[in-house]
């Protein structure tokens, strides 16, 4: 049984901990409120003015260069607000921007891409409207506790000397007992109220942010439609792929194994009275097993190349380049590995492109560059061939586009007649740490 003293001690501890927790919560709300107000005036306001100016200066040329920079900066702070809304208030705000078209964009193309995106204009509206909203809600979130503390700690002293007003006591001429006790009681109430209310005001700010920074319904509809299309294409493609694998196994390796076991069975029978025929049958069986193995190997290569599992994209494209009849300069700079499905899609896209180079381009050299930046895997393949490649015509290129689209990837081809051809492919993806993911296959 516990003694009363122990009980009291633990009770006191609990109260202290609770108060400390409240204090931390109040302090956090205060800091966040201050951050929002400061950002509104030192970042949002200048950015809004800059954005308006650079838009005005587009006809003069300066704006063409300046506008994308300013809008990109606005996207950066808007993204920060999206992160904070989720972290501070649990308000999820999806990023609404249209994907950047692949390939290096010229200044005009960049400008067009940014200005054609409705999200850019909503961002701009937000930078302006957020200034008064952040001011009011930031003061409410952060200032309630501060003013309350002033009421408790400072205002009574002024009341004693009769020269200062606080809260509802501004109007009073006589700062008597009421002026002394009133601020303490009300101030304490405000501090207490700020514990639950601080986060509420911050959440209100986050919800305001969502009203302008989240994708609109139209954008979502567009996205859903695109996903539906790519998904059905992917499902069709993988179903066709499975049918092909089934047919290959059924007509190839499976049939050969049947013939093989038949031959071995026959050889077993013959062993006694016709050892020579038996030997011949066994030799045939061995040859058939070799063919079956070769077919299985080719099939496996088409499903998931073993070297991709063993060495990742880097090793796999290098291994592939070594088997091609023309020299390929390979530059791969990847600090880690993408997820297996993305890695596989990337590999097959590169393989198909290189096969195109070999088959159609008449090139003497080719080069391949793979890198990862800004959350995208970038693959560029170039050759010194005759050019004139048209993604609309080749079914191979359509296949690659479909493969990439399943992962929101894109492809751009520049191939003037006479060459050179450069194909740029992009896949949004994250990289894992350089650790190699285990697989259960054996080699």
């Amino acid at each position: 049984m516990e003694t009363p003293t122990e009980d009291q001690v633990s009770e006191r501890q609990r109260v202290v901990e609770l108060l400390a927790q409240y204090a931390r919560r109040v302090y956090t709300s205060f800091l966040r409120g201050v951050v929002q107000i400061v950002l509104a005036f030192t970042v949002n306001l200048p950015l809004f003015i800059l954005a308006v100016l650079s838009l005005v200066f587009i006809p003069l040329g300066v704006g063409v260069v300046l506008t994308p920079v300013v809008f990109q900066a606005i996207r950066t702070i808007a993204n920060q607000q999206r992160v904070w809304a989720a972290e501070w208030s649990g308000v999820q705000i999806a990023v609404p921007y249209r994907p950047e078209p692949p390939g290096g964009l010229g200044p005009f193309a960049r400008l067009r891409w940014l200005l054609a995106d409705p999200a850019s204009w909503r961002d701009l509206l937000w930078t302006f409207v957020s200034i008064p909203v952040a001011l009011v809600l930031g003061i409410l979130a952060g200032g309630l506790a501060v003013y309350g503390l002033e009421g408790v700690l400072v205002a009574p002293w002024f009341a004693l000397f009769g020269t200062f007003g606080w809260g509802p006591f501004w109007m009073l001429d006589d700062y008597g007992l009421l002026g002394l006790v009133g601020p303490i009681v009300l101030g304490a109430g405000m501090v207490a109220a700020s514990v639950p209310l601080g986060p509420v005001f911050l959440k209100a700010l986050a919800l305001f942010g969502r009203s302008l920074l989240a994708p609109t319904r139209g954008a979502l509809t567009e996205r859903v439609q695109r996903l539906t299309e790519t998904r059905s294409e992917t499902v069709d493609a993988s179903a066709a792929e499975l049918r092909r694998i089934e047919r290959d196994l059924h007509d190839g390796a499976q049939a050969r194994l049947v013939a093989l076991s038949m031959n071995i069975g026959l050889a077993e029978e013959m062993m006694k009275h016709d050892p020579e025929t038996a030997r011949q049958l066994l030799a045939e069986a061995r040859a058939a097993s070799g063919t079956a193995l070769t077919e299985l190997r080719d099939l496996v290569r088409g499903i998931h190349p073993p070297v991709l599992a063993e060495r990742g994209l880097d090793g796999a494209v290098r291994a592939l380049a070594l088997t091609l009849p023309l020299p390929v300069d390979v530059h791969v700079d990847l600090p880690g590995r993408p997820d297996a499905p993305v890695e596989s899609a990337a590999y097959f896209a590169v393989a198909e492109m290189l096969a195109n180079v070999v088959k159609h381009s008449g090139a003497r050299r080719a080069w391949l560059q793979i890198e990862h930046s800004d959350g995208r895997l970038l693959m560029i393949i170039g050759d010194d061939g005759t050019g004139g490649a048209d993604p609309a015509r080749g079914s191979g290129m359509r296949g690659i586009e479909r493969r990439l689209a399943a992962f929101d990837g894109t492809m751009a081809v520049t191939s003037p007649p006479g060459g050179p051809t450069v194909v740029t492919m992009e896949l949004p993806c994250a990289l894992s740490s350089p650790k190699i993911s285990p697989s259960s296959e054996t080699g």
Partner: protein, 214 residues
């Protein structure tokens, strides 16, 4: 002859032990993962190691990596690497120290027992045993180039067998001609490719592989 075997599938591991045992090899240890392989190779220092490329724990090229690391510690340690698939990339890595004593074969080749055992012996003696698939890829890759075009079909065949690591005697046996005839072919090949002649079988193979860029 002392052998270390690394293969994770029990069925294949037992098969290899039985097969090599039947041909008079002494299997000093058979392991089933990368770290044990490295330990076994550095402690036993066998006359030859027969290694599967893909091994636990990662099921990537763990076996190849462990074997190459052991070979860095014990220069010239004879390695015969087996795999379900052959890659020029791996062949290149295996041959990179140009010391010989390297074999790289598809697992399928085990089924031709005599040829396989001959390959193990050759590697143990410091020779080379390269899979016909790898050699075929090398030759296709260079097929468009001028010097190879000047070879006769027979010479190209001989070049391929040479690149696999076979001696003149073995090539003669395979093509059913005399060793002298092969010798004439090889001299002609070396002349056309502009490679220095060499009596030493092994050095000759390495020169051919270097020429083919393996």
């Amino acid at each position: 002859m002392r052998v270390v075997i690394a293969e994770d599938l029990a069925l294949l591991r037992d098969g290899l032990i039985r097969l090599l045992g039947a041909f008079g090899f002494e299997v000093v240890e058979a392991v089933d993962n990368g770290p044990s392989l490295l330990r076994a190779l550095t402690t036993h220092r066998p006359d030859v190691a027969v290694v599967d490329v893909r091994l636990p724990p990662t099921f990537t090229d763990e076996g190849l990596k462990a074997a190459l690391e052991a070979r860095r510690e014990i220069p010239g340690l004879p390695l015969l690497v087996l795999s379900q698939h052959v890659e020029q990339l791996y062949a290149r890595e295996l041959l990179s120290d140009s010391r010989g004593g390297i074999g790289y074969l598809l697992k399928d080749r085990v089924s031709d027992v005599k040829v396989f055992v001959e390959a193990v012996r050759r590697v143990a003696d410091g020779g080379t045993a390269l899979d016909p698939d790898v050699v075929a890829q090398l030759l296709t890759r260079h097929a468009r180039e001028e010097p190879l075009q000047r070879l006769t079909p027979r010479e190209r065949e001989v070049l391929g067998l040479m690149a696999e690591g076979r001696s003149n005697a073995a090539i003669a046996g395979k093509l059913f001609v005399t060793e002298k005839a092969i010798s004439k072919h090889t001299n002609s090949i070396f002349g056309k490719l502009g490679l220095p002649q060499s009596e030493d079988d092994n050095r000759r193979v390495l020169a051919v592989l270097a020429y083919l860029g393996a």
